[in-house]
Subunit: 209 residues, 2 copies
Amino acid sequence: MTTTRTTSAGSRTAAKPRKRRTPEEARSVILDAAEARLQKLGLEGLNVVGVAEDAGLSHASVIHHFGNTAGMRQALGERMTQALLSDLVGALKSDTQPQKILAAVFHAMVGGGHAKLLAWRALNDSDSELPDEAVQRLFKELIRRTGERFGQQDATLIRNNLLLIASSAIGLGISGNALPALLGVDEIDNNEFADWLAHLLLDDDKTCT
Amino acid sequence: MTTTRTTSAGSRTAAKPRKRRTPEEARSVILDAAEARLQKLGLEGLNVVGVAEDAGLSHASVIHHFGNTAGMRQALGERMTQALLSDLVGALKSDTQPQKILAAVFHAMVGGGHAKLLAWRALNDSDSELPDEAVQRLFKELIRRTGERFGQQDATLIRNNLLLIASSAIGLGISGNALPALLGVDEIDNNEFADWLAHLLLDDDKTCT
DNA sequence: ACCGCTATCTACATTGGTGTCAATAAGGAA
DNA sequence: TTCCTTATTGACACCAATGTAGATAGCGGT
């Protein structure tokens, strides 16, 4: 029995006009909706039906552009990673004062929601895959610049400093307001905290010898 | 038409023996399997069918004990939170040297997978709910002890120290090996890092005045 | 041995999400 | 205009997971 597919015939409801976008536009619109849903609804919100509804098109179109759900999620992850890198590079180039750089990094990680992205990828990818080359190159650059700015030569010390900064930024971004709430503060001033941390790291260098 | 349910009649396959557990045992076995699946498969692994299979019983039994899937997940979150608190309290009581305490905290957060739990809850709960009283009490105690051990009175300084320690521990636990890999190290020695951090925080106190 | 409670099971109904397919229409090119 | 490409869509089949209900069986109490 061939399934008789309803063709044009009986559509009494006036067919609503279609909006034809370029593939780039469509992908952009879809990923915008997906990113908003990730922020608002969490991981469960990243399904093609919901994303398509928010984006204003059918879920079949989403699959058409990304192949399948996994493709959509991967594309979103890549786009957000690129945004993270862009923000970090901008923070590094913006200023020459270590305090300002730290503040910019914290702002990017915490305010921009990048930390949640990292956590999401860490939780989803069962085997934490190696970071892509772009990220690795960025960190090479970061290590070099840090060595310059902070005037430190000891590789281990630089690594510890960077590890502390990065892990703290990630932890702050993920915990959100929960951690400050535990410590009895309503909200944390990232600039102030970054300032304090910068002083802590710098002053340690010149510990009275 | 009443659905004639197949009763005992036609079962040619020998009925396999049931294992009757106490409710506590059953819940424990189920949550063990759920926790293992969370570690191995990530968030997607926390479904009743998969958990039931790993636990060695039917998914209907899981629903019987926890009401529904959300109940099972909540129970798991609560049990893991209790374990986290227990580990942290143990770390605080274990030793009097700040370095040892820090190392124990890092070990609990990173090695025990507690950080991933926190990230999971942060990502899932759309509105980050306030931490329960037990956690709040623990942190009050933590603040007090820290003030004693580190010999610091300034509240802001204590808060910054704690914030740095906690956020860094969370960030390290989540990023796993990815972050050290970026910095060119295969693995991070938590003890060594904790030692360095403790010295950093303590030495800052006695900055040459 | 008998009985009552309930943990456990199998089977089923239902839902929600995924991916496919053929038809349609929007825009550009000739 | 006419034609062609393809973005878009509704409908459908499928699957995985959830939750329900009745039947069954293990275990303790009497």
